[in-house]
Assembly symmetry: C2
Homo-oligomer: 150 residues x 2
């Protein structure tokens, strides 16, 4: 399944149109896999290829891409939304580790939530379709700095 081939179809299905601005924003996200970009950061990158684009359009496009489940919205409690390319069709989400000391963000490749979701669905009769999971703690580097000899 390729995002680029179906992007126009996904838009058409909802009555939306494919514009150069929308392509340019999606391109930025595709060229920054592993990053967690703010809307302002996306705006700065997209202006390099599409200098006439307005910030409002980036805000609108990023909301559209989230609605289409092409990208995921994240928040690391710094007051602004961040975005990353979603897994697009796979029911596999990755999680984030947030170091309380250095603020670095690490990716957890594994999902590992299936068993929990089954328990939740059974007990609470709630059909889970998505989840957002953040782990807070101490990263390897920071732990080494605090305990140099261990």
């Amino acid at each position: 399944m390729n995002i680029n081939n179906t992007f126009k179809d996904m838009l058409k299905e909802k009555g939306y149109k494919l514009t150069t601005q929308r392509r340019a924003v999606l391109d930025v996200l595709q060229n920054h896999i592993g990053d967690h970009l703010t809307t302002e950061e996306i705006y700065q990158y997209v202006k390099l290829q599409c200098p006439e684009i307005g910030l409002a359009t980036v805000y609108r496009t990023v909301q559209l891409l989230e609605e289409l489940k092409i990208i995921d919205r994240l928040t690391f409690d710094d007051g602004c939304n961040r975005y990353e390319l979603g897994t697009f069709g796979e029911d596999h989400h990755h999680h984030h580790l947030i170091c309380d000391f250095c603020g670095q963000i690490f990716e957890v490749e594994e999902d590992l939530m299936d068993a929990i979701e089954i328990q939740v669905e059974k007990k609470y009769k709630f059909q889970v379709t998505n989840h957002k999971v953040k782990f807070y703690g101490i990263c390897h580097q920071c732990h080494a700095k605090k305990h140099p000899t261990s």
Copy 2:
């Protein structure tokens, strides 16, 4: 372990003072267990008992209580922070179910994250001290409305 008895001690340990405003804000949170109050909502409630309090003080107090791990900060992506009384000492967190259709929030009493955290700690050498977990999906009521006969 009682919050009220140790609140003053927890403050003193960090050089903070116990004020009537701080007590009043904590009282509001204690009297609204199960709710997820915004700072503005806390302000409205606390004014009933403490009419002279300023909004800025509520913002400051709520940050202080979070720093002391007495309350937890939540966000349901509506643009403002929400707070609830923490479990205070117990290593037991509850999660939240968010219905995509009616917007209702449900509480998951069980933590269920221990096994996952052990896997994460082992593979990523990241010492997990906290987590925030949200499940999105369809609640029981909304599912019944969409499938009346099943």
